[in-house]
Amino acid sequence: MTSFNPADKGRHKKLILIWSITFLVLFPLLITLGLLMRMNQGEMIQLDHDTFYALMTLHGLGMAGVLFSMAWAALFYLLGTRYIKLNTGVGYAVYALVVAGAIGLAIATLVGKFAAGWYMLYPLPFKNPSWPGWTTGLSIVSLILMGVAWLVGCLHVVHNLSKEYGGLANLLGWQYLGKEKPAKDIPPIALITTVSLVPGILSFLIGAALLIMYLLQLLEPSLSYNVLIQKNMMFFFGHTLVNITMYCGVAWMYTLLPEFTGREWKLNKLTVYAWNATFLFIVFAYFHHLYMDFVQPAPLQFAGQVASFLSAIPATAVTLFGLIAQLYRSNVKWGVVPMAFLLGGAGWAVGGCAAVVDSTIAINKVLHNTLWVPAHFHTYMLMGVVLFILAFLFYMGSKEKGEPLSPRTSFGFWLFVAGAYGFLLMFYLGGLNSIPRRMSEYASSGIDHVHGTGASLAYAAALCVFLVLAGLLMMYASLFGGLLKKEAAR
């Protein structure tokens, strides 16, 4: 059994404090970029095309990067102070590289107007760009820095988990599948971290290969790659990164929620089967991004639909039922932490349902690249991952379980949730009305319905985002106060 001395814990506390404050500063700034985009679509302000798409690029890359980094950092802290030895030096190195990458991306987009979108779909960055070549180079190098950071960070965590629990097979819980009781219990956080970070490691390797190919293309413009293969590589990287961010949040829910309910949440055969299946679904679900690439081999299209459909089983029947079983008649004190976990699970389910709908090829043919797509992933990022992160941050800042919140913080929390669902509803209505995504404005479409409905929904969405920001900022005094209190951080 690993022992933890106060000095170790102190180092981890300092590191997570730096990560948390960075997250709390960057998150509303990145929301503001999205707000400007919706305001422009709603014709409240006027941005030129170049600026709009530069903001879109930074918003997408920034949010995916910040949310995954915070999720990884939370797991690093919880694992490193309770279960395994983790080197905080690695944590700082990851932080430095991620921040360096983020600064590079901010310069490339805000100064150089780099605007290829988060996915930089090959060969867009290299064909008639409206942005200077140096911004493409800076963005690629910045993303490589972040990718290397995440790769190192994930390898360090998985390696040390593996050392503590006796190999990858044990970490995946396979010893629970035999007849005998396992010699050593695996905490759920260890299994779910493995299921999340191992596909993450694969995706970072693929992403690194892709980015190196991009770098070579930049240096040697005569190079030409297969568009379909590049697209598969990019979506495997991007989809997996976003998908595992959600599962990281689930991992710490399994650890922290039982402290509030007083009920155990342990592994058994069923949870092991469920999470091993999830591992496969994470790897194969990305094919649903390529449904409208009709030349993609049909078996891969069906694999995308099968993996996406089946992923609903372990997510709901095991994890969300587990969440309900934790809370039902538990006499839990409804502080912000358990409420954020419950609502985070709910957001995951709502967004997941809309995602499964969109992952149906026969439906995707009219929803693909409409606002339905940002609708579903914003649901499980904003009302899933972010609520899980808030649960973690409030937990870290509270002295004791169920510590009452100030009325302002409580109001802020509910304003944040209400504003978010209003904002999301406008995306869903947009998707149902065939409003395309990634449009800087709707007037050029030449279709009255797309222009009128698209702009009206964007206007309403922008108003809701103001509520989201107001709610978030109202929670800040309590969040910062809690995190900075010496005696509080757990």
């Binding site: 095309h49 170049d50 798409y53 779909l121 060969p123 064909k127 008639n128 760009p129 568009v227 379909l228 009920r263 690439d293 009709f294 030349v295 049909a298 639909q305 459909f309 089946l310 609903a312 029947a317 039922f321 309900i324 809370l327 039902y328 008649r329 538990s330 006499n331 409804w334 609502l343 709910a346 389910a349 709502v350 349902c353 809309a354 709908v357 969109d358 149906t360 090829i361 026969a362 439906i363 043919k365 009219v366 929803l367 693909h368 690249n369 409409t370 869903y428 998707g431 149902l432 009305n433 065939s434 395309p436 449009m439 404005e441 050029s444 479409s445 030449g446 279709i447 319905h449 797309v450």
Partner: protein, 197 residues
């Protein structure tokens, strides 16, 4: 558009399924919160929840199997189309315009960069049309909208590949083509028209 007619569209199906999902989730949240203070004196609360799980699992599996089977009936891919095309149309997306032309012999041009087409085309109603879609520079997405702004069909336009989209216009009128894949800053102006007669 009349509410009922929306429900009959694919978008309507998506809305109904998602709404049912959201209502169920909201119901579960309310149930969990409202019952959380009831005592669990005999420590059976967890067991009760897990007892219900078997039924849920069977129900969900049935929904997935039936949903999967039903969805296979209307796949957009060319190898699953029953009707033989009456006419072939070649479409090439280039930053930032659509070029379209009827192909009399049903073939596609060898060099998309040299393809001559127009951004407005006239096509017949009630004929099965096969659109061969490609791109000369970056990825685009060929999306057909009707005059009411409803997205009817789409496929990606990819450099080096030809995607075959089959569609039959049942109503004469003007249809708009939008690009649904981000293709550079002037992306929104990449439009085209189909006059269906």
């Amino acid at each position: 558009m009349h509410l009922f007619s929306i429900l009959l569209t694919i978008q309507g199906t998506a809305a109904v399924i998602s709404l049912i999902g959201a209502v169920v989730v909201a119901g579960v949240v309310l149930f969990v919160v409202s019952t959380s203070h009831k005592p669990d004196t005999d420590h059976t609360a967890k067991t009760k929840v897990y007892k219900f799980r078997g039924k849920y699992f069977a129900g969900l599996l049935a929904v997935i199997v039936v949903g999967f089977a039903l969805s296979m009936a209307t796949l957009p891919y060319p190898q699953f189309q029953k009707d033989a095309p009456d006419q072939t149309v070649v479409v090439v997306g280039s930053q930032w315009m659509w070029k379209m032309a009827v192909s009399d012999d049903g073939t596609v041009p060898a060099d998309v960069a040299k393809f001559k087409g127009t951004s407005t085309i006239t096509l017949p109603a009630n004929k099965t049309l096969k659109f061969w879609v490609s791109a000369s520079d970056v990825n685009h997405n060929y999306a057909i909208y009707d005059a009411n702004g409803e997205l009817l069909a789409q496929t990606q336009a990819m450099p080096g590949y030809w995607n075959a989209l089959q569609y039959r216009f049942s109503t004469p009128g003007t249809y708009t083509i939008l690009c649904l894949e981000y293709c550079g800053a002037p992306h929104t102006v990449m439009t085209g028209k189909i006059n269906v007669q």
